[in-house]
Amino acid sequence: MPVYAQHGYGKTDKVELGLQQGSLGGVILSPRDEKPTKLAAFVEDLQTAFEGVTVLFDPQFYASTISPVKDGNLPEYPYYQSVLTRARFVSPADLQQYVGQTLNYEMTLGLDRLVSPTIMFSDFSDPWSQIALSLAQQSIATHGQLADPPPLLLSLVMDETALRNGDALNEFLDIITAWDVEGFYIVVRRTDRGYPAYCEEIVLRNQMYLAYVLAEMNNFEVVFGYTDVLGVLLHAVGVAATGTGWHNSLRQFSLSRFQPSTGGSPPRPRYTSQTLLNSILVVPELAGIQTVGQMGNVLSGTAYDGVMVGNPANATWPPATSCLHHWEVVSDLVEDIASYATVSEKLDRVDELIVQGVATYGLLRNAGVVFEPSTGSRDLEVWLRSLRAFRQNVGL
């Protein structure tokens, strides 16, 4: 199953349950959120209990350049250094050291993929993107010198604003598609801190293009982290896997995950609807849908959401259940898309699902249900325009 748990703080036994129920095929580990000894034990436990599970380790080296940083357990990992300024990435010997220490540490975990260290960039032509390219090239070189290493995924962490520039993206792709490597682990940082984050049409279109060129055209193994339901669009264009976690901050990547907290209220319970392709608020949105007698149009029918059939406002819906339900919905959607043979057919299907979602939102609004902007159909409309513009661009 090509949906991975995006690991973070407070994992309890959710990952194991997600693997058991078949919604997950793997996990992307976050060293920030686990002590080294516990993380190593967790890897071993997963590999023992779940044959064929994919365990990726995101070294989160990019946190090294954030100041002030909330890096949790990262300083306990031998490869991590903080705070690194741009001057610390000039010397090839330094790059060699960062990469060598990171990959050597990952080798001790017995993983079936290594993930290279990287830093975050905001533009394909800024100095940080050149450093990211240098780190990637150094990673290929270092990986080539390791004894019997697992295949290497090069990690790239970019701000979504970088994806506004299609010409720069093209040049970047010309460079990275020439590399001899197994694949890429990509994270796109969202600037909107709301959940779900608003994503501009051009950004999503170019993100689809990035995924399509790497995965479908050039046969790289591509894993996108922190994708949430939006990952369905990326699966349609060929990516191998996407990651989504339990907290909102593990479903979309924002810098705030690595910055000191400014406080805030606990997240409100949400329900992920397969039809609406969104995680709506249990109260008042799902409760409102129940009031107008439209639950049949939005329930996903997972092993968990039977409790919602009555009054959602009174249902027992703890975060762990909400998370397992979310993974099952995303997994079902991805499985649905995967059942179509060609990219064109997969995109047809996603188009159909989005149109269906928009129509359902319309029906619910007409019945008097009120949605917040982020949980309404705004995003689906952007997805649809992005998808259709992408298809026109690549002639699919």
Partner: protein
């Protein structure tokens, strides 16, 4: 660039070991003589050496100071000696040598003589069969692959530089004279487009991208050659059009689908050709192996 004034008799005087020397043909900056030495038949290429010094290759570096023609010839000989595929012309028995002939500073070297016709002449008789187009694609991909294994790009893949051997019918890539090494010292002035204008790739035209060029540039040129071989038409140029206009089309326009002109051609082959003609290298094939695999799936019946 002038051609050297050298006759067969002059050559016989310079290289007495030659058994027979045919009258030369002129090709670009060089005279090409068909020669034999005992049973061995080969082509001897003779050209005028220049005076200009190529930057970067100095006596301090432990290298000879070379003029551009000699530097290119040296590179060409090194490439054909290094490539181990029957689809790249092979080096002959006479190495790169400088000699004064008739008061002219010349250089010469040899490569295998290929009995056959070049693709530009073959295409004058009409387009190729589908099987031959696939074989052409396969052979040239193997040639591009062999070149890239020594980190070289041909930069001038065109019908006139592809020979088809008589007998076995193998296609062979000729003329490595302007091959490019992205890591080596440039033999070309900034802003000069090298290669036959109507067969250049988009990145050959854009100077800023030249150092990033790789084998995928040759793949674009191969796409144009295959398009022409299957349809009888160049994808971006028609007779009478200025070459600048063709370059503009290479950069900005998409060609007609090949099946417009050859409806019976397999869709798989059309897809390969159109993919090779992708404006950005990342839209073509990531490896020559991938391209060979795709060619292997084209139905030939």
């Amino acid at each position: 660039m002038k051609l050297p004034l050298v006759s067969s008799d002059d050559l016989k005087n310079v290289i007495p070991a030659l058994t027979t020397i045919d009258a030369p043909t002129a090709g670009g900056q060089k005279l090409v003589f068909r020669c034999t030495m005992g049973e061995m038949c080969f082509a001897l290429k003779v050209m005028l050496a220049g005076d200009a010094v190529v930057g970067g290759e100095t006596e301090e570096d432990g290298e000879d100071i070379l003029d551009e023609v000699t530097a290119r010839a040296k590179r060409e000989v090194a490439i054909i000696s290094a490539c181990e595929t029957p689809h790249v012309v092979k080096a002959g028995p006479i190495p790169l040598t400088a000699a004064e002939i008739n008061g002219q500073k010349t250089i010469y070297f040899s490569e295998e003589w290929i009995e056959g016709r070049d693709l530009s002449r073959i295409l004058q008789d009409g387009s190729l069969s589908i099987a031959d187009v696939v074989e052409l694609g396969r052979a040239m991909t193997l040639a591009i692959q062999a070149l890239w294994e020594v980190k070289k790009i041909h930069r001038d893949i065109k019908p006139g530089n592809i020979m088809r051997r008589d007998g076995a019918g193998h296609f062979v890539l000729l003329d490595m004279g302007i091959a490019f090494d992205p890591l080596d010292v440039s033999l070309t002035a900034a802003g000069v487009v090298i290669g036959t204008m109507i067969y250049v790739s988009p990145e050959q035209v854009e100077y800023a991208k030249k150092r990033q060029m790789d084998f995928r540039s040759d793949c674009f040129s191969l796409g144009m050659v295959m398009y022409e071989a299957v349809t009888g038409r160049h994808p971006f140029w028609v007779p009478g059009m200025l070459s600048q206009q063709a370059v503009g089309n290479i950069l900005m326009s998409n060609p007609e689908r090949p099946r417009t002109y050859r409806p019976e051609m397999p869709a798989e082959l059309e897809r390969i050709i159109l993919r090779l003609l992708g404006k950005q290298p990342h839209l073509r094939y990531r490896t020559c192996e991938d391209l060979l695999a795709a060619l292997g799936e084209v139905p030939l019946t």
